[in-house]
């Protein structure tokens, strides 16, 4: 079970059980929707950008969708970027992606997802929220999908 323990680290199990910023944000001025058509998971991401700063952020996963990895990833992401300047959030996005692609660990609690590297079928789950964030910050109204031609 050691390798499973590396995937499902305590911080991930905790954020899956008690996701932070798990809310619809009425004041959001940026929104994005993410889909993983393979498992049917969906995320709605709400961001309020004030000047250059992410002043508030929330997410929802409709109809009980969202596996532990995708939900915890979304939750930890909202914690990591809340209050941060937009360029810093984009840098974190890149660092997170690089980590899952085999690169160095992302900073702070985000390193908890380093174990996902050993589970290729779950990398898209971990990345889903971050791609939604990227789309929201780019003001891209098109829903993002884990099955798009772009590198996920």
């Amino acid at each position: 079970m050691t390798d499973l323990g590396e995937l499902y680290q305590q911080v991930i199990l905790d954020h899956n059980r008690n996701p932070r910023n798990f809310k619809r944000l009425e004041s959001a001025n940026r929104k994005a929707e993410g889909n993983n058509p393979l498992c049917g998971d969906r995320i709605h991401l709400y961001v309020h950008v004030d000047g250059d700063t992410i002043s508030d952020i929330g997410f929802q996963m409709p109809q009980g969708s969202g596996c532990a990895i995708s939900k915890a990833s979304a939750s930890l992401m909202t914690e990591a970027v809340k209050g941060k300047p937009v360029p810093d959030a984009e840098t974190l996005f890149q660092a997170f992606r690089d980590m899952l692609a085999g690169g160095a660990n992302a900073p702070g609690k985000l390193a908890a997802f380093s174990g996902v590297r050993a589970f290729p079928s779950r990398i898209k789950c971990a990345n889903l929220a971050w791609h939604a964030l990227h789309a929201a910050l780019q003001n891209n109204a098109e829903p993002v999908t884990t099955e798009s031609a772009r590198d996920f």
Binding site: Y8, C39, Q63, G66, I69
Partner: protein, 408 residues
């Protein structure tokens, strides 16, 4: 039950270890594993008989043609087809249904017409009809299911009141395991003047199928779910319907004569088999059918139903597990959820225990919406599965519960 101690050694892949554990393959509704006899038949074909078919200027080509056509005979006999020429080889169920939609559908469905499908259909028996209806300005009517996962016969009757041109439904549901009353549905649809299309992807591998007794008009099957290679499959149809239908794919083999600006068509079934066919698939299908014949389809069905019964009984003893689908009239497909553990997580944890299951929407999103779940976990059985596999499944599910702290 079948003697799995004799069957298992005949499947080379089952000797494989997964994370140091015995491979417990429970994703048979997605695809089956292949016995040595099927693998050997493919190797033998390529080693001794390979040539292009139906162009027999030399002995080798005649042998290849014979091998290909022997596959057709085997399929015809296996499902009790109306005639050999009523068996069209395709890449599988999906292509078979697309063939009916693209040929019969395009010729017979028009503006204002209705096509009926059910809410438990696989996307492959929904999307081709959506495309057809959108192109023709026709209406697609989806029949509801009952709470326990059967086709709602009352709603089915209401749908028939629209006098649909065509009614499509699955014999066995890939998501729920429901065995539908295929003959009764066909009779009702015929009385309303409709042509019937049966998705046989999940029935052909697991039950004795008799298309003449069922009296449908089209029956689609996939070889890869019944021990044969990927990319093998067939459309079984009433020959008279095939005769009237326009071609599906234009190309070589499907023609009789070609002029500069027009062509005439080959006889059925070749009219629908443009291009060099997948001879290997036909050879593999024949070997797979021969293998299933030695077991007997009644015994295969009984074996899987017993495994499903035991699995449902044991899974239901775990607090928090919900099993979907009807209590009876079901095949060896067991969909379930476990507390708030997402099926995708469940599948990952089971994989570490060597247990392969499917997690997700199983290509039945309209059904999942009606069940009120985003995804389910699905264990599905075949001839080589045994009670040890169920024990491994149940033990692994309990482990997932411990990891995720599901209250026991």
């Amino acid at each position: 039950m079948l003697d799995t101690s004799r069957i298992r050694p005949e499947f080379p892949i089952l000797a494989r270890q997964e994370n140091g554990k015995r491979l417990v393959y429970l994703d048979n509704a997605a695809t089956s594993q292949k016995p040595r006899k099927v693998i050997d038949a493919l190797v033998h074909y390529y080693s001794f008989h390979n040539a292009n078919v139906h162009r027999g200027a030399y002995a080798l080509a005649v042998e290849a043609t014979d091998a290909y056509e022997a596959g057709r005979t085997a399929v015809a006999r296996f499902v009790n087809a109306w005639a050999r020429e009523g068996v069209v080889f395709t890449r599988g169920t999906t292509e078979s249904i697309n063939l009916v939609a693209g040929s019969w559908g395009r010729a017979n469905v028009g503006r204002g017409d209705t096509v009926v499908v059910t809410a438990m259909d696989h996307h492959s028996n929904i999307v081709p009809w959506q495309i057809l209806c959108q192109e023709k300005g026709a209406t697609l009517r989806m029949v509801e299911i009952t709470k326990d996962g059967r086709i709602d016969l009352i709603d089915f009757g209401r749908a028939l009141e629209t006098n649909p041109k065509l009614v499509a439904y699955p014999y066995v549901s890939n998501s729920l395991g429901t065995v539908n009353p295929a003959a009764q549905l066909s009779k009702l649809a015929h009385a309303a003047g409709a042509v019937t299309v049966v998705d046989g992807a999940q029935s052909s591998p697991h039950l004795r199928v008799d298309v003449q007794a069922m009296d449908c008009d089209f029956y689609a099957l996939s070889g890869h779910k019944m021990l044969a290679p990927m990319g093998s499959g067939a459309l079984i149809a009433k020959p008279a319907l095939l005769e009237e239908m326009p071609p599906y794919h234009g190309g070589g083999e499907m023609i009789e004569r070609v002029w500069d600006d027009r062509s005439t068509w080959n006889r059925i079934p070749h009219k629908f088999e443009g291009g060099t066919p997948n001879v290997e698939a036909a050879v593999g299908l024949a070997a797979a059918i021969a293998y299933l014949d030695t077991l007997g389809m009644e015994q295969v069905a009984a074996h899987e139903q017993e495994l499903a019964r035991i699995a449902i009984e044991q899974l239901s003893q775990i607090e928090g597990v919900t099993v979907y689908g009807p209590r009876d009239h079901r095949a060896g497909v067991v969909p379930f959820t476990y507390g708030d553990v997402h099926p995708h997580d469940l599948a990952t944890i089971l994989d570490r225990e060597g247990v392969c299951i499917r997690a997700g929407h199983h290509c039945t999103q309209p059904l999942m919406r009606r069940l009120g779940v985003a995804a389910t976990a699905r264990a599905s059985f075949y001839i080589y599965n045994d009670v040890d596999d169920i024990d491994a499944l149940v033990t692994a599910v309990r482990k997932a519960g411990e990891l995720f702290g599901v209250p026991a």
